[in-house]
Symmetry: none
Subunit: 411 residues, 2 copies
C-alpha cells in the first residue's frame, strides 16, 4: 500500500480554537484509492520548521500533501518553503497572474498588488486551477514522491483534490479499491446499536465496521476492499443488508445522506408539500430543509413563532389553550402543526415547541422537554420527548426528532 503524509500549514492551526480538519476528508479520499496515511503534521508559519517537516516527509513517504499557506499575504510561506525544501526555483507565471487578475475583474474589483505572489510557481510543477478562489494548487513528482500543494479553505481544496489530484494518485496505486459506506441511525443509542449488530459485523474482517457517535446520530461506517469498485460494493451490500434486518427503520440513510435530504426526497417523490411551525428550534428545521437544493418544490412556508402572541396570531393557536396548558404542551404542539398546515395550505404541517434552556425550565417542565407534532388531512399526532445536552444540542436533537417523525409517516 502506498503511504502518504499530510502537512497542514498555518499558525492559526496551532491555537486552542482551530485545528486541521482537511486531513480527515483527505484521509477518506486517500483510503478510497488505497493509500494509507501514516503521519500528519501541523506546522505554523515558521520557515525553518516547515522546511524540515517537508524534507522529512519527502524522504519517508511516497505521497506528500500540503494544505494551507497559499494565500496572498506575507504569512503565506508554503510556496517559498516548499520550493526551498525541494531545491527548486520559484518562477513567476504570467498565465496564472492573468487568471487571478481576471477573477478579480469578474467580481468587479481590481487585483490587489499582493495577490501577484500567488502567481509564483515551483519549477516543474503542474498548476492546478482553483475554481473557488485565487490561489492555484500545484502537483509535481520529485524522486518518485508525489508532492501536492493545495489551499486551506475546504471549499477550494476539495474540488481541486477530486478533479486533479485523485486521478493522478489513483493511477500510481493500481488495483486496490477501497469503498466506504455510511449508514445513519436515529432514535437508538450507541450501545443499543452495538448490541444488536455486533453479532453480525464481528464475523467480517472485510468490510470493516466502525460505530461512531456524531452529535445526536449514530453512524455505522463500513469499509470494504476489493480489486474493483463493483466487488467492494457487493461486499458492502451483503453486510449492509444484514444490518438493516436488525435495525429496520432506525436506519434513515444508507449512503451518508442527511435527514433533511432523506425527508426532502420522500416529499418530492410523493408530490407532497410541507409547512413548518417552530418555537424552541427557532428556524432550524426550516433552515435544514431549505439547505437542500430544489427544496422549494415541497417546502412552502415556515413560521418561527417565538412569542405566545405569534403562536396565536400567525398559527391560530387558541390563546386559551396556551393559558391552560402552557406554550410547551402537547395540545399547543398539535395546534401549531394544524395551524401551519391550514395557513400554508400544505399536505403536512410539522411543529416543535419546547424548552431549549439554559433558563426557562421548571420542575414540571424542565430544560430539554420538547413536544413535536405532525398533521395531515386525516389526523394529527404528537410525541413528548426529553432531550439531554446544552441549548445547541437540544435544538439540534429536537429538529432531528421532528424530521424523523415526518420521515416515518412517509415510509
Amino acid at each position: 500500500m502506498l503511504t502518504a503524509e499530510i502537512i497542514a500549514i498555518g499558525s492559526e492551526l496551532l491555537t486552542p480554537d482551530r485545528t486541521d480538519t482537511n486531513s480527515l476528508w483527505l484521509t477518506e479520499k486517500l483510503n478510497g484509492i488505497g493509500i494509507e496515511v501514516k503521519l500528519k503534521t501541523i506546522v505554523g508559519d515558521d520557515d525553518a520548521r516547515l522546511e524540515e517537516t517537508i524534507k522529512d516527509a519527502l524522504r519517508r513517504s511516497r505521497v506528500v500533501i500540503m494544505t494551507g499557506g497559499l494565500g496572498p499575504t506575507e504569512d503565506d510561506i508554503t510556496r517559498k518553503i516548499a520550493a526551498r525544501a525541494l531545491s527548486r526555483r520559484l518562477l513567476f507565471n504570467e498565465k496564472v497572474l492573468s487568471e487571478i487578475s481576471s477573477k478579480f475583474e469578474r467580481m468587479g474589483r481590481g487585483m490587489p498588488e499582493i495577490n501577484s505572489r500567488q502567481a509564483m510557481v515551483i519549477q516543474g510543477a503542474e498548476v492546478l486551477d482553483n475554481p473557488n478562489g485565487t490561489a492555484p494548487g500545484m502537483y509535481l513528482e520529485h524522486n518518485n514522491c508525489a508532492v501536492v500543494l493545495l489551499p486551506g479553505p475546504p471549499r477550494e481544496m476539495r474540488p481541486m483534490f477530486e478533479n486533479f489530484v485523485q486521478p493522478r494518485l489513483a493511477a500510481k496505486v493500481g488495483d486496490v479499491r477501497v469503498v466506504r459506506r455510511i449508514l445513519r441511525v436515529v432514535g437508538l443509542g450507541e450501545s443499543a446499536v452495538d448490541e444488536r449488530i455486533a453479532p453480525i459485523y464481528t464475523q467480517y474482517k472485510n468490510p470493516q465496521t466502525t460505530i461512531l457517535f456524531n452529535r445526536s446520530e449514530i453512524e455505522i461506517h463500513l469499509t470494504a476492499q476489493a480489486k474493483t469498485e463493483k466487488d467492494a460494493e457487493l461486499l458492502l451490500d451483503g453486510l449492509a443488508g444484514q444490518i438493516e434486518e436488525r435495525l429496520g427503520h432506525s436506519i434513515f440513510a444508507f449512503r451518508g445522506e442527511t435527514m433533511e435530504e432523506v425527508v426532502g426526497l420522500r416529499l418530492a417523490v410523493g408530490g407532497f408539500s410541507l409547512g413548518v411551525a417552530e418555537s424552541c428550534t427557532g428556524g432550524l428545521i426550516s433552515q435544514r430543509l431549505t439547505e437542500v437544493p430544489g427544496s422549494s418544490v415541497y417546502f412552502k412556508e415556515g413560521v418561527v413563532a417565538y412569542s405566545n402572541d405569534a403562536k396565536t396570531r400567525s398559527l391560530g393557536v387558541d390563546s386559551e389553550l396556551i393559558r391552560q396548558h402552557g406554550a410547551v404542551s402537547a395540545v399547543v404542539a398539535e395546534a401549531m402543526a394544524e395551524g401551519i398546515r391550514h395557513r400554508a395550505d400544505t399536505d403536512f404541517g410539522l411543529s416543535v415547541t419546547g424548552i431549549a434552556g439554559p433558563s426557562g425550565g421548571t420542575e414540571d417542565k424542565p430544560v430539554g422537554l420538547v413536544f413535536i407534532a405532525l398533521s395531515d388531512d386525516a389526523h394529527t399526532e404528537h410525541r413528548k420527548i426529553m432531550l439531554p445536552g446544552d441549548r445547541h444540542l437540544i435544538r439540534w436533537r429536537a429538529s432531528q426528532a421532528a424530521l424523523d417523525l415526518l420521515r416515518r409517516r412517509l415510509i
Copy 2:
C-alpha cells in the same frame, strides 16, 4: 518564549473519523503559562516513525508532550519507543505495579497479566499518578528539554496535566502571561483588511497579529505577552484601538463574539424587538438569532416565505409587485421587511430575498443576487448585493449581510 511540541500517538487518529483534539486543550493550557506550541504531529502505532518523531522533537523543542499509546496492549508503544528515542532503559517499577493491581482490586477484579506492561517506567522519569485510569504518566528532564508522557483519554489526561505537569512547566517559564484577542470583520476582503492595517501591526512584535479568513468573515487574532495578564491586556488595547481607527465599524466584534450575539446585545440594550422575513436564507437568520440564550426578549417572530403565495398571504406583499418586479427585487425585499414588522408588531423588520442556487438563476438575476431590507417606523431601506460561493455560502453570507445591516442601524 519557551516552545513546545505535541505528539499524539495512535493509529485511530489517522483514520477519516477521528483526530487528535487533546492538543487544543493542551495548547490553551500551555499558552496560558507562556509556552507556545510550534508543531503538532499525529503518528500511528509505528515504531520507526514514532522514534524519528520523538527524536526530532527533542532536538528542536524545550517541551515535548506525548499523548496516547500508554495502554496495556501490544499496540501501545509509547513507553518503549520514547525510552529508545531518549537512549534510556525501561525499568520495571514494583510500586507502580502494586498501585495498578490495587486499582483492579478496588473494581473487584483481578489485574489482567497484560497490564503489568504499564508498570514499566523510563529510567530517571518521575511517575505521574492517574486517578481516572490505570496508565501512569511520566515526566523527565532530558538535555534541558521537559519530556511528558500522558494517556490519551481526555478524562485521564486533563487532571494529570493540571496537577503535575502545569506547575512544573510554569516554574520553568517564570513570569510570562499570554493573552489572545479576536477581532471580527464584516464586509471587507482579506487583502483589503491587510492593506489597511499592515502598516500598523507590522510595527509590533508584541502583540503578534494574524489575519484569518473564516467562512464569510475575516478574523484578526492578536496575541500579547507580558509579565501580568493586565499588562498583556493593555498591550492588546493599544493595538486594537489603532486597528479600530483604520477599520471603523467594519469590526463588529472585539472579543470574538458572533454577529448574532453582537446584534442581540444591541437589541436587548436598546429595548428593541425584531421580526424576520426570509426567503432564500430559509430560516437561517432566525435560527442564528435564536441560538443565543435569552433571545426571546427581542426576537418575536420569523417567517420563511419560500413560495410567492406565502409572501403575499403571510407578509402582505402585493402580488402585483411580485408579478411586475419578481420575488427577488428591491421592492419585494422592502415590502417583506415592512410586512413582518407590521405583522409581528416589532420595532424592526428585517428581510432577505435572493437566489441561492444552484439552479434558478437567469442572466438578469444570476445565482448570488440577494436583496436585504430593514424597516423601522421611520423608514425602510434596502441593499442589493452579489454574493460568491455555493448555495451554503450564499445563504450564510446573505444572513451575515442582513444582520450587519441591522447592526449598523443600531450603532
